[in-house]
């Protein structure tokens, strides 16, 4: 870069550089600096890989908390996180045997999730849910509603969807819900100040 600068200075001295040239150089250098700055934007980008109740809850607390603090939040639901966004009231036809099996074995939406530990055949999860209710801790239903109001962006992984045989029609209605691949997620994640894998 210092050679470029030296050349420029030489050109200026010889009067062969115009103001336009300098303006262009400046714009170019600005762009380069922007690209070197890692994680500059006030945004939390979360990969929700888990489909456990406790982990998904934590992801939502972080995402909604971030927006409350004035940051942006993006959640990318992939793999075991994909079934979390199924709508329990919707179903999709046209699935093959594998798709039907996955549809049956995987949780049908956020209210069918289990704790990652101490599930104890479902007892642990019920106990946790009633404890949360008693202490007024927001449920996943409430979390999703708050997230939608606050403008948390949610992306669903297309690849996981097709792997598990899910169709777009069986997912929840959520403002600006997008079906994307890893590149879309990474494009915004690379510039986010906070990147998490849950």
């Amino acid at each position: 870069m210092s050679e470029v600068l030296a050349t420029r200075v030489e050109e200026m001295r010889r009067g062969t550089t115009t103001v336009d040239d300098l303006a262009r150089q400046l714009a170019d250098l600005k762009r380069q600096v922007e690209n070197i700055k890692p994680g500059a934007e006030e945004r939390v980008s979360i990969i929700v890989f888990s489909g456990d109740l406790d982990k998904v809850l934590a992801a939502f607390v972080i995402a909604t908390g971030a927006v409350a603090m004035g940051m942006e939040a993006v959640m990318f639901f992939t793999f075991w996180g994909t079934p979390v966004l199924r709508d329990a009231k919707k179903s999709a036809g046209g699935k093959d045997l594998m798709g039907k099996m996955f549809g049956f074995m995987l949780p049908k939406g956020r209210n069918a999730l289990k704790l990652s530990k101490m599930n104890m055949g479902g007892m642990g999860t019920s106990m946790m849910k009633s404890l949360m209710k008693k202490k007024n801790v927001a449920s996943l239903d409430q979390m999703l509603e708050m997230a939608g109001e606050l403008g948390v962006k949610i992306y669903i992984c297309e690849m996981s969807m097709s792997l598990m045989g899910f169709k777009q029609g069986e997912f929840i209605d959520y403002p600006d819900l997008k079906y994307v691949g890893v590149a879309t997620f990474l494009e915004q994640a690379k510039n986010s100040k906070v990147q998490l894998f849950i």
């Binding site: 607390v61 908390g65 927006v67 409350a68 603090m69 004035g70």
Partner: protein, 80 residues
């Protein structure tokens, strides 16, 4: 006694645990004008650390904090 801070809006956040208090004040602060004061009452002990962190990051000022009887009260000035 000490001079009372003039409050322009009050929020009762009693009984709400994390992350709800911070989420609600972030919404509530938008309902007052810049320069006005929001008074928020909470029972969440995490708020003691969370509200100042929230204020710092979102650019508002906590004028006063009061604790007593299990309640924490914040007077927050909207700065922008």
């Amino acid at each position: 006694m000490s001079d009372e801070i003039k409050t322009d809006k009050t929020m009762d956040l009693k009984g709400l645990p994390c992350p709800q208090p911070v989420i609600k004040v972030s919404k509530g602060i938008k309902e007052i004008q810049v320069g006005q004061v929001l008074e928020a009452v909470t029972t969440d002990p995490g708020s003691l650390a969370d509200f100042p962190a929230w204020a710092r990051t979102s650019g508002h000022e906590i004028l006063k904090t009061d604790q007593g009887g299990g309640l924490i009260t914040f007077w927050i000035k909207r700065m922008k």
